[in-house]
């Protein structure tokens, strides 16, 4: 790891920033970051309202029953799309780019291009979600936006996200850190996967069962290689940085990185166990799912060895950023173990088609990715706006609502799925009710976060290092 004109730092530790005022690096990305971030928070609130409506409809199917646009299938699809493409993508664009600019000391001079990408993305998504509510939706989750939206989203993604790759290519000093690998790889892999999935499922549909396999492959990559990899990049950045120590067993990180990228997509057929695809493909999926434990073990060694030294857990609890990030890390590890264990034939036979799989997805998209993104927001936003978080109470409301909502949502989905798998005739209403309570808690947390974030952005002054809440 060569370093030019720069003091040496131990491997496994991101460089210090410690800027007293907004650095040139941060100044260039302030506009695009705030564009993506404000869009993300707005989408998050919309997604939370839709998710609450969908959750209520699961135990009160006649709720808004006379209103065709509020049909469960449409509302659930809209909630999923707004959460994933609205909140998740916008927030990851912002955080990924900020991390890449920081690590590479990249001065961003073409903010308008990224902002144009963000505007295009959000306009296309708005059109797509309205069409979904109006009934123009497909049969595949996360590929259910109207197909004409796909190419627009792809172009917008390239305009918005590829700056991360540019930042890596033009980083000063040639330093590199594990967070950069994950972000570059995620940014490069996702457009490829999205393009191929769009072609195979929507534009030139393959023969029946292969469509289902292509869809499973897309979802697997979207979850692991975009949400998972980006969340891990942020966690790899913030944990050692805030604790002020090198990442434990850093030399293992490349193994975790490459095995995650190789085995994640290969595990896709495990989602179709017992389905109308060749048995050999199903076996490949199961084997790859179990091999997915390799990156999980590496990640566990990296993070747990860093957090278990010198009161790291306690210090994490006292840092708003790390509190969220550590919940995200633990969620990811738990998700990795569940994904491997419950892809085996015996367990899949019982739990398939129940809410169990939904609980696992929530553990990744919300427990891991969203919690890490929240933590990153608490670190980055004060630096870019130069403002304090307006209300400490709202920060606490946000954390506890999100954390409890996560526990209840995932717990109810996993337990409800387990019960439905073992006793199909048992009533599911209690678990659905718990799901509604969780959706309400999450909505409360997200509104608190939005109020605080928008209050901070509106009070934005000349950025300084004061008032940071990390």
């Amino acid at each position: 790891m060569s370093q030019e004109n720069r003091p040496a730092r131990p491997p496994g530790r991101p460089p210090e920033s410690g800027f007293a005022r907004l650095s040139r690096t941060e100044a260039g990305l302030r506009g695009p970051f705030l564009c993506f971030f404000t869009s993300a928070v707005l989408w998050l609130v919309v997604a939370s309202v839709l998710a609450l409506v969908a959750a209520v409809k699961l135990h009160r199917p006649d709720f808004l029953g006379a209103c065709e646009p509020a049909t469960y299938g449409r509302v659930a699809a809209a909630a999923r799309d707004t959460f994933v493409y609205g909140w998740g993508f916008n927030a990851l664009f912002a955080v990924n780019f900020w991390i890449m600019a920081q690590l590479g000391r990249f001065e961003f001079r073409n903010g308008w291009l990224a902002t144009l990408g963000g505007a295009t993305w959000n306009l296309a998504l708005t059109y797509g979600v309205v069409q979904v509510i109006r009934g123009d939706l497909g049969g595949f989750a996360l590929l259910d936006l109207p197909r004409e939206v796909g190419p627009v989203l792809l172009v917008a993604f390239l305009l918005s996200a590829l700056w991360s790759v540019v930042a890596y290519a033009r980083r000063s000093g040639g330093q590199h850190f594990v967070s950069q690998w994950y972000i570059v790889a995620a940014t490069f892999a996702l457009p490829l996967v999205y393009l191929l999935a769009q072609l195979m499922v929507l534009w030139f549909p393959t023969v029946g069962a292969v469509q289902a396999l292509a869809h499973a492959w897309f979802v697997q990559n979207l979850l692991f290689l975009w949400f998972g990899a980006s969340a891990l990049a942020a966690a790899y950045y913030f944990v050692p940085k805030i604790l002020g120590r090198p990442l434990g067993h850093y030399y293992l990180a490349p193994i975790g990185f490459w095995t995650l990228f190789l085995f994640s997509g290969l595990a896709a057929p495990a989602a179709l166990l017992g389905g109308p695809i060749p048995v050999w493909l199903q076996s490949v999926g199961v084997v790859a799912s179990v091999l997915g434990l390799v990156p999980v073990v590496v990640l566990a060694i990296n993070f747990l060895s860093t957090l278990s030294v010198d009161g790291g857990w306690g210090r994490s609890w006292n840092s708003t950023t790390l509190r969220f990030v550590v919940v995200g890390v633990v969620s990811f590890l738990l998700f990795g173990v569940l994904a491997a264990v419950f892809s085996t034939r015996d367990l899949s036979a019982v739990l398939a088609f129940t809410s169990f799989a939904e609980g696992q997805v929530q553990l990744l998209t919300y427990g891991a990715a969203t919690m890490v993104l929240f933590g990153a927001s608490y670190f980055i936003l004060p630096r870019l706006t130069g403002s304090l978080w307006p209300s400490t109470k709202l920060v606490h409301v946000h954390f506890w609502s999100a954390f409890l909502g996560l526990l209840v949502a995932v717990g109810a989905a996993l337990a409800g799925g387990w019960q439905a798998g073992h006793q199909p005739s048992a009533p599911s209403t209690p678990w659905a009710l718990a799901g509604s309570v969780a959706a309400f808690l999450l909505l409360v947390g997200h509104v608190a976060f939005a109020l605080n974030a928008f209050g901070m952005i509106l009070a934005s002054t000349t950025p300084t290092s004061e008032g940071r809440h990390d």
């Binding site: 006649d62 389905g275 036979a349």
Partner: protein, 173 residues
């Protein structure tokens, strides 16, 4: 991984290898499947959907029914689908070759519909159920459906059948 090109090449290899290994191979294996008789000279299955059922499929998709209903029956050793009466044999890839967009589904809030046509109620009963489900049944009321859309949806649901023999899945006599 200091070299960007090497990093991108490695990631490209991971994605391309998995894509070709899983999806291209699957397309090569299944892409030429078509309708076939269970025995030489017999009728071809799966049957083509009648026109009204094609319209009904669009209603099924528009309403998002796939969020709660699957259309795939797993073999006896993999779940209890057959024991629960969802089908008489496992679903196979050939069952879906005529479907422009497969609707396998991922979650069962309601029952599997792969072979619903074989156990369906009468048209009138089914239409009445869709408009006003019986008390205690966890199904939303679709009273807003026009008579034409309701009839099309009923026709589609009744067209869903996997109770024929195919070369890959023979019915037990």
């Amino acid at each position: 991984m200091k070299n960007l090109n090497l990093l991108l090449a490695g990631v490209f290899f991971c994605v391309a290898a998995v894509w070709s290994g899983l999806l291209v191979t699957a397309q090569v294996q299944l892409g030429s499947l078509g309708r076939a008789p269970a025995e030489e000279g017999g009728p071809l299955f799966p049957s083509r959907e009648p026109g009204l059922a094609i319209q009904g499929r669009a209603v099924y998709v528009d309403l998002g029914c796939v969020a709660c209903h699957t259309q795939q029956v797993r073999p006896a050793g993999q779940g209890s689908d057959i024991a629960r009466g969802y089908g008489v044999r496992p679903s196979v890839a050939r069952d879906y070759v005529l479907q422009p967009q497969v609707l396998l589904g991922q979650r069962r809030v309601g029952p599997d519909l792969a072979n619903y046509g074989a156990r369906a109620k009468s048209d009138a009963e089914l239409a009445a159920f869709l408009a006003t489900p019986a008390a205690g049944v966890n199904h939303p009321p679709y009273a807003f459906l026009t008579a034409e859309r309701s009839a099309a949806l009923v026709a589609y649901l009744k067209s869903l059948r996997q109770d024929y023999s195919s070369p890959e899945a023979k019915l037990k006599q």
